[in-house]
Symmetry: C2
Subunit: 296 residues, 2 copies
């Protein structure tokens, strides 16, 4: 069997109030990754801004931009120049009063080749996403690129085995999760470690259940809650790249910027699915209940 390798990168960094500075940081990371041979570069969720969802403030919708728009224009130019595929994360203004948390794929010379609008929207103290983001409507469709078929999702989606499976059934060759997740400083160290471990474990499990690699890109750094309602968020970094048996290939630190690079073997999917052929044995005659809210 011909081996098919792909060098991938995740760009992890802290953000500030300054959009241009954030984007310059991101682009510096993309350049470094490309220089090291990466062909796919995954950016963290909402990489041009602070994680603004800690509070509800109508003025913050000013941060949104159309697609195509300034950020996708700028990143398209970079993708073209460096001959890479970039998954960017945009606070999308689709229409007045209609905003999404959107991942956009920019493919070498081709510009925008597809987008994914975050389907599962969280809403918790410090994460007021249902206020800002309309739930996505294109569903779970992988995006074709010159380097493969990408199952791009966003952050909270990473906790749902359903969407990882749907991307797989639709032909995704790898799963990509831009994300912004961190610790509540009010939690104990033990609770913080359980949460980080759960986050790593469930995403690795998507790789295992589906026999495809996972790239997860998180931000680092502390961001205060301007409302003072919470103690802010210590984003936990730990971006990682896992192979198609869920094995961790590379992990970034918790508290530093990182240009995380790994070579993944896309041919392993064929091998691991021959050993453990879950797609053959799914009981599709018995899964109807998955479309129910609860079976009481």
């Amino acid at each position: 069997m011909t081996q098919r390798f792909l060098k991938v990168a995740a760009i992890q960094h802290a953000c500030t109030h300054d959009r241009d500075k954030n984007l310059a940081n991101t682009i510096q990371g993309i350049r470094s990754a490309a220089k090291q041979g990466a062909k796919l570069v995954v950016l963290q969720e909402l990489h041009t801004s602070l994680y603004f969802c800690q509070t509800q403030n109508p003025n913050l919708f000013d941060l949104a931009e159309p697609i195509p728009g300034p950020t996708t224009d700028q990143l398209s130019t970079i993708a073209d120049e460096l001959n890479v595929v970039i998954t960017a994360s945009i606070f999308e203004r689709r229409a007045a009063g209609l905003y999404h948390n959107t991942a956009v794929v920019l493919d070498t010379t081709k510009g925008i080749v597809g987008l994914y609008r975050k389907m599962h929207i969280p809403d918790d103290p410090g994460f007021h996403e249902k206020y800002y983001f309309t739930p996505g409507d294109p569903g779970f469709r992988p995006i074709n690129t010159t380097i493969g078929r990408l199952g791009v999702q966003v952050c909270w989606d990473q906790w749902f085995p359903e969407s990882a499976r749907l991307m797989t059934l639709a032909g995704a060759e790898l799963l990509v999760y831009p994300t912004a997740i961190g610790w509540d400083p009010a939690d104990t160290h033990e609770e913080q470690q359980r949460q980080l471990d759960a986050w790593l474990t469930i995403q690795r499990a998507h790789a295992i259940a589906n026999g495809i690699p996972v790239i997860s890109c998180n931000r680092s750094g502390f961001e205060a809650d301007s409302s003072g309602n919470t103690q802010g968020i210590q984003f936990w970094g730990n971006s990682f790249i896992a192979g198609s048996q869920g094995e961790i290939i590379k992990t970034a630190p918790a508290d530093q910027c990182a240009v995380l690079i790994a070579k993944i073997n896309l041919s392993r999917t064929e091998q691991v699915r021959r050993i453990w052929p879950y797609l053959r044995d799914r009981r599709i005659d018995a899964y109807n209940g998955l479309s129910s809210r609860y079976l009481d």
Copy 2:
């Protein structure tokens, strides 16, 4: 919030050709677990026999028994005597030519309170289960017991997030996996470790995705392949008990018998689901594809 604790046990051991000796081993483990206060005792898959599916042999259907039958009778008596709930694993003869891989729940004084017939059936070199076991038909229904609502599945099921989710939606308070999984001695050490790690990871992920504890009970010991087609199976033990954030509470060794006991906190489900409320945010409007074989 009132805390609700439950002491649970998994009985891991090697098996021989001698049914009575295997069952005596199991019962010794149950007695030990009960003495230490366990209220739920989980037995490994097909605990009365060798893992006979390494070869296809029509005579081996002689190992099957009805439910109720000799093994459930014997274990019912023990459950009654020790005032415990036992999940047993039976090669079930349901009718001539109709056999199942079945988990049975025996509840204190009540005898059999429910059964689960393995739904996902593997079939691979050394694991000829599609030959022996008809796919289960009762679907993924938890079983009510005096100590809680058990989401009992069997072995290969443990790789499918779909069934863990369906058990959860139907009200399961914990997931139980009797299993028989091991290493192919022909594999490299690295491959063996990746497989074990994948097995632990995906089951822990079911706990995480659903906010409920997991008990997984595997056999230990080497069993030869009488057909000589493979190098046999080194069952990898590693039975474990994980809490509702997927955190490992206790693990058994790879190569020894073990009466694994842990106290789990069932009230944690309420707490972790308030922090990470996946059931609130599932996109049931977009999950229809899960009932498809493939979305091409």
